[in-house]
């Protein structure tokens, strides 16, 4: 377990040392709040039930979780390119320990960033949740971060170089965001998109956050749409499956020696 601790500590130290990354992760939701919030608010203008900025708050927290945890565990790609992954792979620890350490580090980063943003964002939009709601929100954020961290590991196993990173952003991160209910209710999407949304771990995280934060608007169709228990089970399942699937890929032979063999030509 010391190894898991070591991997988590390294993730945190690296994050805090990258000033730009810290700033971007904290500022991003506010940029969205201002620009996307203003834009969508005009579209929603006819509806008086909820201020759009309030509506998008759970989604913004979910977005922080996604970027925070996903980008952290995607750093496995950088670890592989920089060679650090080899140091980890030659250590006397199981592959599953490495995957767990990486996912937990990512989860911790996603959770902390989301809490920091939430502390500023909630009062800003006029949301004052009860302690019980806060607890539910934090639990949701933590579990969603773990699911995202595990998913990031799985993606990282499939990405052989940083060049593919843009592809991941375009074909994974943005669809996940738009199909999460962060910006509009999943129930109002067409059947196909709705089905896709339910394959998206972020959707369950955002749904949980809506249960926690938008309870007062549940009656008018802006609260959580799925049972809370289902959200928890789905997130836990995504985390477990992601970790289990990523573990054997972490040290696939292609990762270490095959590359060295190719370099020789």
């Amino acid at each position: 377990m010391r190894a898991v601790y070591g991997i988590v500590v390294r993730e945190l130290v690296r994050f805090l040392r990258q000033r730009g990354r810290v700033l971007a992760s904290v500022a991003r939701p506010f940029v969205w709040l201002i620009f996307a919030g203003a834009g969508f608010a005009t579209v929603f203008a006819g509806r008086q039930e909820i201020d759009y900025r309030v509506y998008m708050t759970p989604g913004l927290l979910g977005m922080v979780v996604m970027f925070g945890a996903l980008l952290a565990s995607l750093s496995t790609v950088t670890d592989r390119e920089a060679g650090v992954l080899r140091m980890v792979l030659v250590a006397p620890i199981r592959r599953s320990t490495i995957a767990l350490g990486k996912a937990l580090g990512a989860a911790l980063l996603g959770t902390v960033q989301s809490i920091v943003v939430g502390v500023v964002l909630l009062p800003l939009v006029g949301l004052h949740p009860t302690p019980a709601s806060v607890l539910l929100a934090v639990a949701g954020v933590a579990l969603a971060s773990l699911a995202m961290g595990a998913l990031g590991l799985l993606l990282a196993a499939g990405i052989r170089s940083l060049e593919n990173f843009a592809g991941v952003m375009n074909f994974v991160v943005f669809p996940m965001l738009f199909l999460s209910g962060a910006l509009y209710p999943v129930s109002r999407l067409g059947a196909v998109l709705q089905a896709l949304a339910y394959l998206n771990p972020l959707a369950y995280g955002v749904d949980l956050l809506k249960h926690a934060l938008l309870g007062s608007w549940a009656g008018v169709g802006y609260g959580g749409e799925l049972p809370v228990a289902l959200d928890f089970v789905a997130l836990a399942a995504f985390a477990a499956v992601g970790l289990a699937a990523a573990t054997p890929l972490l040290a696939s032979e292609g990762g270490v020696t095959r590359a060295a063999f190719r370099e020789r030509g």
């Binding site: 390294r10 030659v90 620890i93 060295a260 020789r264």
Partner: protein
């Protein structure tokens, strides 16, 4: 005399249709300084990765530090240190943070790790740079730190895979002094791969590898006298019909 530090029997590996390693039989003794000499692509790194449990052998078996590389891979990894061709350090962490990270990966308790890190930083001349990020260290210092990381957990066997690639002559010299110092102080077995004959020269015994096959094995003196030549370079030529430098393709490092 305990069991051999490394014992390989019929070890082989294919990558698709490429036979990286044919059928290697090898025994490295405890505390021996063993050289694995061959050109790029000879199968040296493949062999090291199999012995270090990073790669499963396609054929044959091997025991390293007393354990089977396939069935007891965790125990093998506990007993070995491995310095790769390319650095494995985290460039954003400081020298000391890198060692602390490694100490946790190797499950060393803080009370053991702290004095050990202190001692290695001193021994490797890195004490003053301990709080500097690795990216600011010279190539020679990084290599020294790589070796310090490799021996942090006091392994029985240290693998050095082309450790001097990219180093200037002065950094090379100081690296060899460090390695010899470690051998003297701890009776460490060192398994070195290289395509430089001058690095194989001081080894106790040298195995010459070409195209995945062992073509000669013995002390440098034995190899030279058996081939009736004056240098290990000529030994390679006598055994393979090609000059080593040409087989290397003029590239430094693999």
């Amino acid at each position: 005399m305990t069991a051999a530090a490394i014992a390989a029997c019929g070890l082989g590996k294919d990558f698709g249709s490429i036979r990286a390693l044919d059928a290697l039989d090898l025994e490295v003794r405890e505390a021996e300084f063993f050289g694995f000499l061959g050109p790029n692509g000879a199968g040296k790194t493949t062999t090291v990765h199999i012995l270090a449990t990073l790669l499963k052998p396609g054929r044959g078996t091997a025991r390293v530090a007393g354990y089977d590389v396939v069935r007891e891979s965790l125990q093998v990894r506990r007993g070995i240190g491995l310095v790769f061709q390319e650095t494995t350090l985290d460039r954003d962490l400081t020298a000391e943070e890198n060692l602390r990270f490694a100490a946790r990966l190797w499950d060393l308790p803080g009370g053991v790790a702290r004095p050990r890190i202190e001692q290695l930083l001193r021994q490797f001349g890195l004490l003053e740079r301990r709080d500097d990020p690795v990216r600011s260290l010279s190539g020679g210092m990084r290599r020294a730190l790589d070796v310090a990381r490799g021996v942090l957990h006091a392994p029985r066997v240290l693998f050095l895979d082309e450790p001097t690639a990219g180093l200037d002559p002065r950094a090379r010299r100081s690296l060899w002094e460090l390695v010899q110092g470690l051998r003297r102080s701890s009776g460490l077995t060192v398994f070195l791969t290289t395509h430089y004959v001058e690095e194989a020269e001081p080894c106790d015994r040298v195995a010459v590898l070409d195209r995945g096959r062992l073509v000669a094995l013995g002390t440098p003196a034995e190899l030279k006298s058996a081939a009736g030549v004056g240098s290990l370079e000529d030994v390679f030529f006598a055994r393979t019909g090609r000059p080593l430098a040409e087989a290397n393709g003029g590239h430094g490092g693999q």
